[in-house]
Assembly symmetry: C2
DNA sequence: GTCTATACACCGATAGAC
DNA sequence: GTCTATCGGTGTATAGAC
């Protein structure tokens, strides 16, 4: 079918655009990323971007939606014999590895402007709420089995894990060049759950 | 002395400008903060800003220098009978409290543009290196007395504490409205050093 | 030194030819 | 649907009157 093929091409290009957006969001952040940057990175004209996405905000939202969807899939695909704590650690580990590969952090704590527009994006909010609900269940389950601190509100634990997925310590440690990616991720996961105390 | 008085006024205005910059950096971030914003907040004309500071970058650098200097003073003023670990915790607690009062986080992990320009600012780099050296001594001392994990590189510990001082968890928890400022800060310090495990 | 006015560059978004 | 060209708006920084 010819039509289906064209549509496929269209989708493929949209995906290529989101790849570029992801790269640029990670490198420069939302505020400093320009539509010229995106167009140049993809190798198309700036005007053509607007045939795929209505605005810069919706472009970023689409990129973050794709990544959140991916996270939900990873979480769903984890071996079912893992404990809740192991699942949480695996998800955090995966998010940190993705960042080292050039992905943008989940929580766009970088730009207030982006945060505002995202909260008005229904698709994004739905996805975040879904991910949030699943992680919350894991946190509570881990607390019930005693592997996570019962005396901490589950919100505190959940937010702390979220924050760790976009922790700048990752870049700091990479900049030193003293540790490989595996060690860096391991240090972050370890200090998150076990703390710094001796 | 007439000249000294005028000079004093000039310094006072510079300080008022830095207050405004601090507020705006915390609220909007460097990229979204405009010189118009700063001028409006201070209540002077935009052109007058450039009589005090050469550029937007030097304006932000001056604000961050002032805050770093303050941190060094706080650290120096801590009771000498505190253990190294207690000093580190007290400094982190102070930084988080300052953020809740509207101060900008130490590490401007928000803006890549600002990071770059700061690394070229000699005054700022000197101050950061001084603070860094003092904190590093505390970390190593705490490791030697066994109150911080000896098997972690001291860099990992130091960067983790830095990152916690600008952790977005603070805003997340405040947004819920379920905890007062004291509790919020306590949760952050506690999870940083003791982790999330049960 | 402080103001108003403006130069100059850049960005998001659109128009119109093909 | 992709391109080039451009509009409208905004931001940093400066010029010039007072």
């Amino acid at each position: 079918m010819r039509l289906s093929f064209k549509k496929q091409q269209f989708e493929a290009r949209a995906d290529a655009i989101l790849d570029a957006v992801n790269l640029l969001l990670a490198k420069k952040g939302f505020d400093l990323m320009t539509m010229d940057d995106v167009a140049a990175e993809v190798g198309i004209a700036k005007g053509s971007l607007y045939k795929h996405f209505a605005s810069k905000e919706s472009l970023a939202a689409a990129a973050l939606c794709r990544m959140t969807r991916e996270t939900i899939e990873i979480l769903a695909g984890l071996a079912s014999d893992l404990t809740p704590l192991e699942k949480l650690k695996a998800t955090l580990r995966w998010a940190l590895e993705r960042r080292l590969q050039g992905a943008v952090p989940h929580l766009p704590s970088t730009s207030v402007a982006l945060q505002r527009s995202l909260m008005l994006n229904i698709s994004y909010v739905r996805l975040i709420m879904k991910l949030n609900a699943e992680l919350k269940l894991l946190v509570i389950a881990a607390q019930n089995e005693g592997s996570l601190d019962r005396s901490l509100p589950h919100e505190v634990i959940l937010y702390t894990i979220y924050a760790r997925s976009c922790d700048p310590t990752l870049e700091f440690l990479r900049t030193t060049g003293r540790y490989n990616d595996e060690q860096t991720v391991a240090y972050l996961v370890r200090t998150c759950f076990e703390g710094l105390n001796g």
